[in-house]
Structure formats: C-alpha cells, structure tokens
Symmetry: C2
Subunit: 433 residues, 2 copies
Amino acid sequence: MSARAAILVTGTEVLTGRVSDRNGPWLADRLLELGVDVAQTAIVADRPQELLATLRFLADQGVDMVITSGGLGPTADDLTAEVVAAFQERPLMLDEALEGRIAEILRPLALRFPDLDVDAVRAGNAKQALVPRGATVLEPVGTAPGLVVPPPEGSPGGPTVVVLPGPPRELQPMWGDAVVKDAFRAATAGAGDLRQRTLRLFGLPESEIAATLRQAVADGVALERLEVTTCLRRGEVEVVTRFEPPAQSVHDALADVVRTRHADTLFSDDGRSVDAMVLDALRGPPARRIAVAESCTGGLLAARLTERAGSSEVVAGGLVVYANEAKVSLAGVDPGLIASFGAVSVEVARALASGACDRFGADVGVGVTGVAGPTGGTEDKPVGTVCLSAVLADGGGALTHRVTLPGARFDVRDRSTTVALHLVRRLLAGERD
Amino acid sequence: MSARAAILVTGTEVLTGRVSDRNGPWLADRLLELGVDVAQTAIVADRPQELLATLRFLADQGVDMVITSGGLGPTADDLTAEVVAAFQERPLMLDEALEGRIAEILRPLALRFPDLDVDAVRAGNAKQALVPRGATVLEPVGTAPGLVVPPPEGSPGGPTVVVLPGPPRELQPMWGDAVVKDAFRAATAGAGDLRQRTLRLFGLPESEIAATLRQAVADGVALERLEVTTCLRRGEVEVVTRFEPPAQSVHDALADVVRTRHADTLFSDDGRSVDAMVLDALRGPPARRIAVAESCTGGLLAARLTERAGSSEVVAGGLVVYANEAKVSLAGVDPGLIASFGAVSVEVARALASGACDRFGADVGVGVTGVAGPTGGTEDKPVGTVCLSAVLADGGGALTHRVTLPGARFDVRDRSTTVALHLVRRLLAGERD
C-alpha cells in the first residue's frame, strides 16, 4: 500500500567505520514522517560496480525511491551522479548555469586559502555541474548540487533516485528542497497516512514488554493491525507503534494495557524524550536553573543538558571533579565523607549535588560519582557502580540512588547520564527520598 | 585475492534511525585488522523475506563471509538464527546443554525482578538454544549465543555466516571467541596480509589533498598499487592507505610527498588520533595535568578528554561555565573583560584557560567560549564563532585562537573540541603565540 524507500550511503570512510553514518538514521526519520516505509539501508564503498549492483538489488526489492548520500565531491572517487545516471539510463549533460553558480560559491573559498590550486578546484567542480538528462537539480548547500533522477524514460516502473551530498550539514537543508519537487512527490504518491506513537519506559527489562504484548493479545487487542517494535535505547525501553489511521483505537487499547501494567516505569507517552521532559520541567513554572557536579561521567551530563538550543536559560553550569581534591576544593565536598564512605558513595553523590547547587546558585543540583572502568573496581564497588543524587536548593528535598550499570566504560558513562536525567525528572515531578 | 566480508545489521530500531548502529563500524574495523576487505554493510528490518533476500544478494556479490548483528533475542520478532539456518540449508536443532547454560544465566535475573513471568522467559530462551545443524556455537555473553554457520553441506561455495547479538557489549566480547573458531578461519583463509596506514592533517581543505595525490602521480608514485581514501572527520583530513606488503615503498613515497607539501598541517603519521597524542604528551615526561573551562561546548571537551581509561592520571577536571556569572565566580574571569570584549572573545577564552589552571592547580588550562547557535549570533560574531585558548600555568606561555566553524549546533560544538585539542597538542609541542 504505502510507498517504500531504501537508503544508499556511499563512502569508503563510512563503510570502513572511520566515520559513523549520521545520514541513514536521519533520512529514515524523515521518510517515516512522510509516511514512507524504509525497506533497507545499504552502506557501500565508492566503487561503481558495487554501487550499480546495489541499486539494482534495491530496485528488485520493489522500492519506489532510493535516497543516496555521498559521492558528490570534486574528486575522481566521487562518482554517485555518474553511476545513478547510468542506472536510470540518462546521459550526463553539463548544466552551464549551474556551473556558474558553483563558481560563485567557490570564489570566497579561494580567498580564504590563497595557496589553493584554483584551476584544479574549478575542474573538479565543473564535474559537479553534470546533470543526468531529465533530472531535477537541488541547489548546492556546500558546493555540490543534489539531484532527483526519475526512472528510465522507456521503463517507468523502477525507483526514482534522490542524490544527496554526504556532509550532514549539506544533506539536511537540501532535504527540505527535495521533498517539494514534483519528481519527488510523484515517486512517493503512494505514501499512506501512517501514524507513529512512542511509549518510553525506564527501569524494567525488555522481556517484560514482550510479556505485556502477549497479555494484550490475550485481552483481545488486535495487535496484528499495528507494527510494534520494542528496543533498549540508552537504558530505556522504547515501544514504537506504527499504524494506519483506522487502527488508532487498537493503538489506544495497547497503550492502556502498557499504562496499567507499567504505571511505575512508563514515563513518556507523547513522544518526548527524558531530555526534553527535564528541560521542559526546568522551564516551569516555576522556572528553575540546574547545575551538575560529575566525576565518572567527566562532562557528559553537562554536555547532554546543553545539547539543545535554548538550554542556557535553564543550565547554570557544571563541575567536572575527577580528582578527589577537586571534589573538596571546587564542589565543597567534606573530605571526611570521602574518607569514611569513599569517593564512590551515595553520601559523596549527595554532597556533590549540594555543592553544584551552592557554587552556581542554582535551584537544582545533580551529583554523579562512579567506577566507569575498566579498572578501579573493587568487590564492594565493582566496575559499573554509580552513585547519583538530585537535590533541590535550600533543603527542598532529594533523590539519591546507587546503581550497577552493565557494559564497558562507554556504556557506563552514557547510561549514567540517563539515570541522572530520570532522577531529575522524578525530583521535579515531586518525588522525594 | 584477499577475503571479502559483508556486514548485515538487523533490527527495525536501527533501520528506522531510533538507535544508531555502533556494530557496523566496529566490525568493519576488526575485519580490516584481519586483512579482510569489507564489501558492504546492509541494515534491514527484522522481516524474514528481506533478511533472506539480502543474504542472497550479498552471497551473489561473492563475499566469503557475512557477519550479522541482532535478532537473537527471546521474542518472536528475533529470527536471525532461523533465517540463517534456512539460507545455509541447515535445520535448527535444540542444543539441550546450551539450553541448560542459558537457564543458569537467567536465574539471577529472575531474582532481581521477582515479578518476572519466569515461564515466558524460559520459553523465549529455549528458542535461543536452537542451533543450525553443523554450526559452531559461540557462548552467550548476555543470554543469546552466537553462531558460525558454514555454507550448505552440498554446495560449499557460498559465504559462511557469523551470527552475533545486537548489543555492542555482547557482540564485542563474542567477536574474540568467533575469530579463533575453525569455521571462521576456514572462511577467511584467503585474507591477505593487507597493511593500513593513516596520515592525519588539520587546517586545510580536502581538495588540497586531492591536488597532492595528483602531484604524487606526476612525480611518478605508483598510486594504482595503493587503495587511498581521504575523508573529513571531525574537522580533520584523514588519508588512509591500504596495500599489500610489496607496495610498502609506494606508500612511503606517497607519505613523503604529503610530508613535504603539508609539513605545517600533517600532525600524525603513526595512526594516533589527536586525542591520544594529547594524553601521551600530558603523561610526559614531564607529566602534566590539564583542566578546562568551557562555555559553548558545555562539557564536551572534558568528556572527550576523559573518554579513555586512565585519563584520571592527567585530567584534573573542568568547569562548565555557561552563564556569565559562573565565568566570573567559578573561573575567575575579570567581569571587566566580559564587559569590554564580550563573553565570546579571545580575551575571555584566555582568562577561562588561566582560571581553569588556577582553580584545579593544573599545569595546562584550556578555555572555550563561542556561539554554538542556532541563535545568539551577531554580525561581528556569527553563529560558529569560537574563541579558544590553551595556557601553561605560571605564565609559561599560551596559544589563543578565534575561528569560525561551519555547520549547526552539533557540528560547532563537536568541531570546537577538535580545535581545542589541537591547540593543546601544539602548546605541549612547544609552540607559543
């Protein structure tokens, strides 16, 4: 029924893992928003035979559209436009007006790098002005134009190929230009009005959700009318449901079952992440400002709180107090607490939270101290032991918690920021120790 | 010549972009270390027909091995083992001893979650003990075993499929177990002794490297004997070269050309990242400790410095001073500097760096202040303007810099940490303003 698309990410640097792909997930999100089903993402090297073979395979899967990212640069190993032109049987033709516009874009670059080999740059970029016959040009955001290339003129059954540049800061703005083109709309005309809803839970194993889904079926919920996927993400369980509008009541019934069985762990049923919920709660009313003092997370919690634009209104700042002396001198932790309970203890976490509040004059303070590993673990406090506390200023109450988190250093640090955000969320919702 | 592999990542949550794939890049790195060429990475949903079609396509590409990740969980939508068994024409058989070992693993989980539906869990995990006939079992790290599944008994020409679990903290330890199995070794017997070398440069556009490669060819370097890829990564240019041992002299000649033409921007020719170089330089001798005071990066610089195990020896800590009052009260910035030059200024960056040094009693201080966007830019200081400074304690010298970084908030913040690390690297190498 609904339109289906595949994503084709090109580039040896992505395939070999030196650069992680941000375009595939981003494009998948955008396609789902348009009601287009994502059939597959393929990551291939910049080798023409493999690109072409993969385009053919994706076409054989019956997709209506293939979105490519990358391979539009000025160098000889950038050959996506050429391969797509061959695939769609549309010869490349020089678009002189486009060539002129690219030259305009390059002029300031030449001024910034006076030693630049200007002729080489211009030659490379004339290549970027080659357009498959009948394709729609997407204006360059960097120096490379994008393309919407329809199927071969004689055989209109195949997919339309949307050719986008690799750098996310070029690809993302260009996407908005692509989706309004006639050729794009024609290819996704079958896109259904698919709805997507997300339930987020924290503090239960994924298998419990599997049991709940079985219970819902036993209760008569027509789950076969929904596409339900569950996953663990940064320590939370996400239940994502996609369905056509007539199945809204089925979704609502499922949501009710989850709400009833998991009232204590379901924290979001409107799609908001815990990050968004914490920032919203801080904005108030009453408006509050937050400060953190973190040890094992080394700045990750502050970085996560300041990830979104506008966070400066509610984030006062943070202390990264790796060394014990810094915990004392900067966060004001009583050295006696460290001596008695150890640097990784709920007592020190609580003192860090209070210290962050005091030092920044904030309304909410958070303290995190733990053993991220791989070394530093003891029998009492193995790697993964993390103590966290969230406090309100002036003795307004606190939530303090000790957890043992699974995984390696990366996982422990990342997961700790999730646990910390949930403590803040619950504190701001009125919970107290 | 050399063995080729493909990576098949399964999971609707990865395909739809809700979870970013960490396994593909990690597996690609490990395969390259083994001298195995990576032909393609495919990300598909947990739908049996698509899994099977993709396995067939990858086999058609002539790969010797397919590594799958994901789809080994206890729920009904986890069906990788079943599909791979069908693909290799090897019926699934219950491995009772394995079933017993999985039951042992589950026992403590049942104790932690007393409300758990134990029967459902056990049923789900009996499924995890089904093994394709003739496959080699990889012991569970979580609850799911992995598999090495050889091609069909009658037709040995196809790829061996290595089936691994989705969570990186299960997949990564299991990999070490997989590579020593006879079935794995047999499939990669053709792996050549491929060498890989990386040159890293900072502060030049990628097109300059393209010109240098052309120059090398003109100088008679036999580039066709190397596989050279260049890419932009977090603001650096990486030139990765792969070649068979007899081509070592060709690589060396290319490296010489790059060294000569880019002496001022080439910073690493031994594979080390700037992160590793900074930590190594801090370890000394002389050993030095670093502290940071950051505004727009909001903790990312401290987080990056503490990413690696053992960083606590050299990282004293950090201040996240988002608000101007915090810059004054915590980092000791003279409010007159903020009034005269603005919070985003080289003067304030320098004061932040000195303040970080003083507050933590560190030997090296770093200050970062900028406009990450999307709002807050002015004509004088547009979004992307970042001022950075690295100083040695006690007036030992400094490097201070103002840059305009491209991209959106995410890019500006991330790129700023790279610029900061390069300032520290150069300062520790003896450069001064």
